[in-house]
């Protein structure tokens, strides 16, 4: 098996971490084991980018072992082992790419850990700071979720720009990851940015689902945001492609339908500029809890 990813990673990445960055993300304890070239600097960058998700102590919240994701910065001249999203180890000499792949590895790890417990939608979530009413904006990757958080988030609280995890009781488990922003000067590599740098804060009140919006960005759209109310079956059909772990969740169609019915059903919003979604976000975040 010479040359396989596991062997390559064992050759390059030491087992013993030089630094550990403890996170609590999507309700899951995650330890980032940081090693390699200038590991202290990498650990500091991770603490800065993940500041809203840092675990105050090394001790896990619920007594279970944290999920471990290994981050290894290669020295100049080191050969990178092949990267896989679910590999649990990220090794790279390029700091930006390393941070991006680490975010993806953490996302994969926590989604895997919570599969079956949470109804997970590929979505941005913003919550009212006082009531916790959360507007869930569902959209595929690279279609504006992070921009929405940057633009509409500072007057609310940040729940996620990637995955919104809904519990059976309607509560939302935040995933306070760095904002992953496509850079025009870095083809294919996103910039991982600390949410606090753009004025985003962690939820002060426990978030709960107040409404679900299916986003459809159309740069040619003119005028006010187009709003189309979806019946329950249409909404479920629209949302399931943007879900995670559906097949390993008990009764996911009925669970999602229950969320939709309780929150007044989903709307599809067609928009050109994210600022146009402000009234919709405000309306949803002003709702009373149906839970």
């Amino acid at each position: 098996m010479k040359g396989s990813p596991d062997v390559a990673q064992r050759d390059v990445v030491p087992e013993r971490p030089e630094h550990v960055v403890g996170l609590h993300a999507l309700g899951t304890d995650v330890d980032l084991h940081v090693t390699g070239h200038d590991a202290a600097d990498l650990a500091a960058q991770l603490r800065e980018r993940w500041h809203l998700a840092l675990r105050p102590e090394r001790t896990p919240h619920d007594g279970t072992d944290p999920v471990v994701v290994r981050a290894h910065r290669l020295a100049p001249g080191d050969q990178a082992p092949p990267w896989t999203r679910g590999g649990g180890t990220v090794a790279d000499g390029d700091p930006r790419r390393l941070l991006q792949h680490l975010t993806q590895a953490v996302t994969h790890a926590v989604i895997t850990a919570r599969t079956g417990d949470l109804l997970m939608l590929h979505a941005a979530g913003l919550a009212d700071p006082v009531t916790g009413a959360t507007a869930v904006f569902v959209a595929p990757g690279n279609t504006g979720k992070t921009t929405l958080c940057r633009t509409l988030g500072p007057v609310r609280t940040y729940v996620s720009d990637e995955t919104v995890g809904i519990r059976r009781d309607g509560g939302v488990t935040p995933y306070l990851k760095p904002l992953s922003t496509r850079r025009p000067d870095w083809a294919g590599v996103k910039d991982e940015q600390a949410p606090g740098l753009v004025g985003l804060r962690a939820p002060a009140a426990d978030p709960w689902v107040a409404g679900i919006v299916v986003l459809r960005r159309d740069p040619g759209h003119r005028g006010p945001v187009g709003l189309e109310r979806l019946d329950t079956l249409d909404a479920v059909v629209a949302l399931t492609p943007e879900s995670s772990g559906f097949m390993r969740t008990d009764g996911p169609l009925r669970w999602l339908a229950d969320v939709l019915v309780r929150t007044g059903g989903a709307v599809r919003a067609t928009y050109a500029e994210v600022e146009g979604l402000e009234p919709l976000a405000a309306e949803i975040c002003a709702r009373r809890s149906p839970w």
Partner: protein, 107 residues
């Protein structure tokens, strides 16, 4: 009820089919969504009733009687043909399975 010769690829009146169990189903106003093998499929009112009645296995002719009783005859009057078409569609996407494909004595 009109019974015509089975078309190629279509189940005959004596074909016995059974509903393939889904991971989850959601029913609204007679229609349904069915989650099976990682795919969500929207199933018509007719298809939903067929899947409901074929849980323990049922022949296409018997399913045609069920549909006729529930909805009356189709516009073209060919209840068996319409039922066979619905069954064929459900078979093609894996929402039904053939339990027994008995030869039609009429040929």
């Amino acid at each position: 009820m009109v019974s015509g010769p089975a078309q190629e690829g279509m189940p005959s009146a004596r074909t016995v089919v059974r509903t393939v169990p889904a991971h989850d189903e959601l029913h609204r106003d007679g229609e349904s969504l069915v989650l099976l093998d990682g795919q969500v499929r929207r199933v018509s009112v007719l298809g939903t009733l067929v899947r409901d009645r074929a849980r323990d296995g049922l022949g296409v002719a018997e399913l045609a009687e069920v549909l006729a009783e529930e909805f009356g005859p189709p516009p073209d009057g060919d209840t068996l043909g319409t039922t066979a078409q619905v069954v064929a569609t459900l078979l093609s996407v894996g929402l039904l399975e053939v339990l027994d494909d008995l030869e039609d004595p009429a040929g």
